[in-house]
Structures are given as C-alpha cells and as structure tokens.
C-alpha cells in the first residue's frame, strides 16, 4: 500500500462514524413521540363519549405553541439570536390567511403553507436588515419591530384597524367544529418537530450552532454566516406564520391585540428557555408546562395581571437558576430520561 493512499483510512473512518451514529440511533426512543402523536390523533374519538371540546382546545392550543416555540427555537435556540418580535410573523400569517379567508372563503388550513412562505420571505428580508445587529441590540430591534407592527395594524383600515375583522365560523356541528383545526395544528406541530430535528442534524443546523457558539470563528471556518442567519430567520418565521394562519380562523376573528401583544412572543421565548434552548424536546415540554400552568392560573385566580406577574417570575427564576432549561440541565447531569431525548 502506497503511503499516500488514504482511501482505506477514510473508509475506516466513515464506517466508524456510521457505527457511532447507529449506536446513537439505538439509544433514541422513536416510539415515544410516535405513540404520542398516535394518541393525539385518535383523541377526538372522545367526542363520541361526551363533550370533550375543552380537552381538544387545550391540545390544539398547546400544539399551536409547540409550532411557534419550535419555530422560534430555530433562530433563538440553534442560532442564538433572541427575538422578542416573532409574534409579528404570527400576525402576518394570521392576517394574510384571515383576509383571504374572509374575502374568498378559502380555508386557512389550505392557505397555511402559503402564509408560511410569505412569512419566510418577510423573515428573510427583515433578517437582511435586523441581523446586522447582534446580541442585545438585536433584541431591542425585535421589540421595536413589534411596536411598529402594532401601530400599522391598529391603523390600517383595510384589515379593520384596531377592531380587526370577524371571520365566518364553520358550519360543522359544535361537537366536531374544532376537528379540522385540531388535526391541522397537531399534524403541523408533528411536522415542525420533525423538521427541527432534521435541521439540527443537517450541515445547515451544524452551521447555525457554530454561529451561536462563536460567530467570528464560524465565519472564518467558511460558513456563510449572513445567509445562514437569514435562512434561520426565514424558517423560524415560516413556522410561526403557519400557526398564525390557522389560529385566526380557529378564533373566528383577527385583531391586532390577539397577534401583536408582547405576551405571545414572551411565551415563545419562555417555553424554549424553560424546556431547553436549542433542544428538540425542549420547546414541546416548555409549551406543555407553561400552558398547563397558565390554564391553572387563569382557572384558579382568573386574573391576567397575576398571570403576567407569574410568567415574569418563572422567567426570572429559570434564567437565574436553570439557564439551560429542563432538557439541557438534565442532559448535562446525565439524567435525561431516554424518552425525552429527541435530539
């Protein structure tokens, strides 16, 4: 064998890598998320036994936030750019699909991918501007974006200004009225989680994670950081926009103070931070916990002000004591249950 013949070494390395990846694959429990999805898909059968609309609403609501939080995670978790303005894309998606639905009667569930595409374009272009800033000034500029969107939507008479637009409700019997949205949200959430997994394990995702660790080094390692960041922005905007599109029709009205209140984007951020930024299962766990907590608070205390107080408290405590979030902290300690290891 010639001394400069490296092919056998490369082959051996490839085989070794494949073996490692295989070993990792075996430790991952795929059946758990799949079973979870299956259970959620047959859950509406409960309606045959009685009125479980509230349960369906909770699952649907959680699925909606799973989509948004996972979408946010692509930019905030993988890439490390914390945006407090992602509800702008929620609004863009909701208004785009909602207005077409109101005018032409095309279901927002069909329009959702289009809304996602529109948000991706909007995210790409906004990213071109906003991603010139970094760290705290990115956060500040994202806040300013929400304020601008709020003023524009409040005063744009075509979309109803501050009063918004009422959308027709569907004519299914009450028992089944939530069903289309339920399936749309649950399937979209499943797709989002899967897509996030694929993104994280692609070369693109590796680049994003490199950017979050050290942008300058990532750039000098040959990553086109600008393009990567903008794409991450576009992808995360698209998911949030798709959720917004269906959410408007589900609520039967679109109004600025549903989409552009700061609490929506705070929830996205908080879910990711609580669950674990940059992990796949984190936003899902965060969404479930935060919404369960929120529901509990609203049901027992009924006051939205205490809710804001509690949300702020949770956020501060998590940031101070578990900055890695539930999944991150457990994984670091080596105590992450295998069923939660979706990465």
């Amino acid at each position: 064998m010639a001394i400069n013949d490296t092919s056998s070494v490369l082959e051996a390395r490839e085989a070794y890598n494949a073996k490692l990846a295989g070993a990792h694959d075996k430790t991952r429990i795929v059946w758990f998320p799949v079973t979870l999805l299956a259970v959620l898909l047959i859950l509406p059968a409960l309606q045959f036994a009685g009125n479980y609309n509230y349960v369906l609403h909770l699952v649907l609501f959680t699925a909606c936030y799973v989509i948004m939080a996972s979408g946010w995670n692509v930019l905030g978790g993988f890439t490390g750019y914390i945006s407090l303005g992602h509800n702008v894309f929620f609004a863009i998606g909701g208004y785009f699909a909602g207005m077409i639905f109101a005018r032409y009667g095309i279901s927002t569930i069909i329009l959702a991918p289009l809304a996602g595409l529109l948000c991706a374009v909007a995210g790409f272009l906004l990213g071109q501007i906003m991603l010139k800033t970094r760290g705290p000034s990115f956060i500040i500029s994202s806040l300013a974006l929400v304020m601008i969107a709020r003023i524009l939507l409040d005063h744009w008479q075509f979309v109803g200004g501050a009063n918004g637009v009422a959308l027709p409700a569907n004519d299914l019997p009450v028992q089944w009225a939530k069903l289309p949205y339920y399936y749309a949200f649950v399937l979209l959430a499943a797709f989002t989680v899967w897509a996030c997994y694929k993104i994280k394990h692609s070369k693109f995702g590796l680049g994003l994670r490199a950017i979050s660790k050290d942008e300058i080094k990532a750039e000098s390692a040959g990553i086109n950081t600008r393009l990567y960041k903008q794409l991450a922005f576009a992808i995360s905007a698209a998911f949030v926009g798709m959720a917004g599109a269906i959410w408007g029709e589900y609520l039967t009205y679109i109004r600025p103070n549903i989409f552009t209140i700061i609490l929506v984007s705070v929830y996205m951020v908080l879910m990711c931070i609580l669950g674990g930024k940059g992990t796949i299962a984190g936003p899902v766990i965060g969404a479930i916990l935060i919404l369960a907590f929120n529901e509990f608070f609203v049901a027992t205390l009924g006051a939205s002000e205490i809710n804001i107080l509690a949300t702020g408290l949770i956020m501060a405590l998590v940031l101070m004591f578990f900055p890695l979030g539930i999944v991150g902290t457990l994984a670091k300690a080596g105590k992450l249950p295998r069923i939660l290891n979706w990465d």
Binding site: I82, I148, A303, I306, I308, T311, A316
Partner: protein
C-alpha cells in the same frame, strides 16, 4: 411661524421629560452593560408613588419626587443584590441581563396591575392643566416644570459625575471596568450605587411622568422602545447623548405628529431606533459599536 414655534416648544417640553427617563437607562448601561428593559416599568412604579401621594395626602408630585426617587433607589439596590450580583460571572452576560430585565419588567407590571388595576391614572395638580401664554404661543406649565426639573436633575447628576470622587470612579468604570478595578476602584460598589442611582432616576422621572402623561401598568411596553431609541441614538452609556437625542427626537416627533397625526409621532421613535441600529449602531456620542 407661530405654529412652528408652538410645535417646537411642545416637542422640547416632552424632550425634557424623556431625557430624564432615558438618562438612568444610559447610566446603568454605561457602568454595568445592562440593557435595562425594566426601566419604563420602574418609571411607572415611581409614577404610582407620586400618584398615591397626591391622591391620599394631597402632596404635590414635585415634592413627592425625592420620595419616589428614594423608594425606587432602595428597590434598585434590592434588585441588584438579588439578581445582578450573581449574574456578573455569566458567560452571555449582556444577553442574559436583557432577558432578566425583561422578566423583571413583567414582574413589575404584573404586581402594579394586581395592586392598582389597569385603569388610566394621572396626577392632576393645578399646574398640570394650566399654561403660560406668550403672544399666540402657549407653554403648558406641567410640561415646562417637568422639563426644567428634569434638566436640573440631569445637571446635578453631571456635576456629581464630573467633580465628586465617586463620580470619578463611576466614569472610570464606564470607560474600562478592568482597568478601574486594577487601579483600586471597588467596582462592585460602584456598580451597585450606579444601579441604585439609575433606578432612583427612574423614580424621579416617574413622579414627573405622573402629571405629564396618563399612565397604567401595561403602558411601559410603548415606552421601552421610545427610551431605547433615545439611548441608542445618543450612544449607549452617554448621558449627554441621551439628552441630545431626547430633544432631537421629541421635536421631530412633535412635527411628525403635527403633519401626519398623533399616532405617527410615536412611530418616529421606533423607526429612528431601527435606523440608528442599522446605520450607526454606536449612536451620536458612542465611541465604539459595543452593542453591535
């Protein structure tokens, strides 16, 4: 002509108040590198202090001002001790503190909302609705007094920073924290005191705000972006820059409001924030683009 002067005066009167609102934010960023998103929420806390002083005891908000400043300064020390002292070693410090102060803003908003509900309040001493007339031009007394008091406070602060030993230490820490520490400045004490001063300024600004604007706990979201635009345009950490930016933007906003209607005048601040971050992230008086 009278119209232009009038708009100008109204803009300047607001600028004075905004200058005080922003200067605490600027001081805190300069010394501690904390972008304090909770600042406007704490300003509203100060406004409530003045409001209740006026409502319950009939004390003039201008007299309540030092009280509000003192109470808020104590709150600032507590926040510093509880939260920021332990975060000083955090790896992603600036980013972390932005999120933490954001959470803090929600805590303050929620607490104020729970205690005092979300109804609009305004303190109404006699001068709040009165005005001086010079020919055709009128100057609202409330805003004039607020602007003058605010400039006096900022002037006092500048003198303190410039001529006192402690102010010297604060400026040294702003310029270079490590070097200041090497030269024997107790950086932690400086940070704590400047944080307390900054939050105290928020309290003082709150007392002025209480009779210039109507306020309610959730209003601080709007102010965050407004104050950020002042501080960013002025250059993060430069108090002079903040004051200049406050007057500049308020006057521009007053003209925009005059031409296009009141809703668009707030838009001026948000757009300015966006543009400054993109074109000149270090602002007018900032030395280097540390934030970018």
């Amino acid at each position: 002509m009278a119209d232009i002067i009038q708009t100008m005066i109204l803009g300047m009167a607001l600028g004075g108040v905004f200058a005080l609102m922003g200067s605490g934010l600027s001081l805190i960023f300069g010394v501690m590198r904390i972008v304090n998103l909770a600042h406007p929420a704490l300003i509203i806390a100060g406004a409530y202090t003045a409001y209740w002083g006026f409502r319950l005891a009939g004390v003039d908000p201008l007299i309540m001002l030092p009280v509000a400043a003192f109470i808020l300064a104590v709150v600032g020390i507590v926040i510093y001790k509880l939260v920021f002292e332990r975060e000083a070693s955090s790896a992603k410090y600036t980013q972390m503190t932005v999120l933490l102060t954001f959470a803090l803003a929600m805590i303050v908003e929620g607490a104020l909302g729970t205690a005092f509900t979300n109804t609009q309040r305004v303190t109404s001493p006699g001068y709040a609705t009165d005005a001086f007339f010079i020919g055709e031009v009128f100057i609202p007394k409330g805003q004039l007094y607020a602007g003058l008091v605010s400039l006096a406070i900022i002037g006092g602060l500048s003198l303190f920073l410039k001529y006192s030993n402690f102010g010297y230490a604060i400026r040294a820490t702003t310029q270079n924290r490590d070097a200041a520490e090497l030269l024997g400045v107790n950086v932690n004490l400086v940070a704590m005191v400047s944080f307390a001063i900054g939050i105290g300024l928020a309290g003082a600004a709150g007392a002025l705000v209480s009779f210039v604007f109507s306020f309610f706990p959730a209003k601080h979201w709007e102010w965050i972006a407004i104050l950020m635009s002042l501080v960013v345009l002025g250059g993060m950490g430069s108090i002079l820059g903040t004051v200049v930016a406050a007057f500049l933007l308020s006057i521009v906003a007053a003209f925009v409001g005059d031409f296009f209607g009141a809703t668009w005048s707030t838009m001026t601040f948000f757009l300015a924030l966006f543009l400054v971050l993109l074109i000149r992230p270090q602002g007018l008086f900032g030395e280097k683009p540390e934030l970018a």
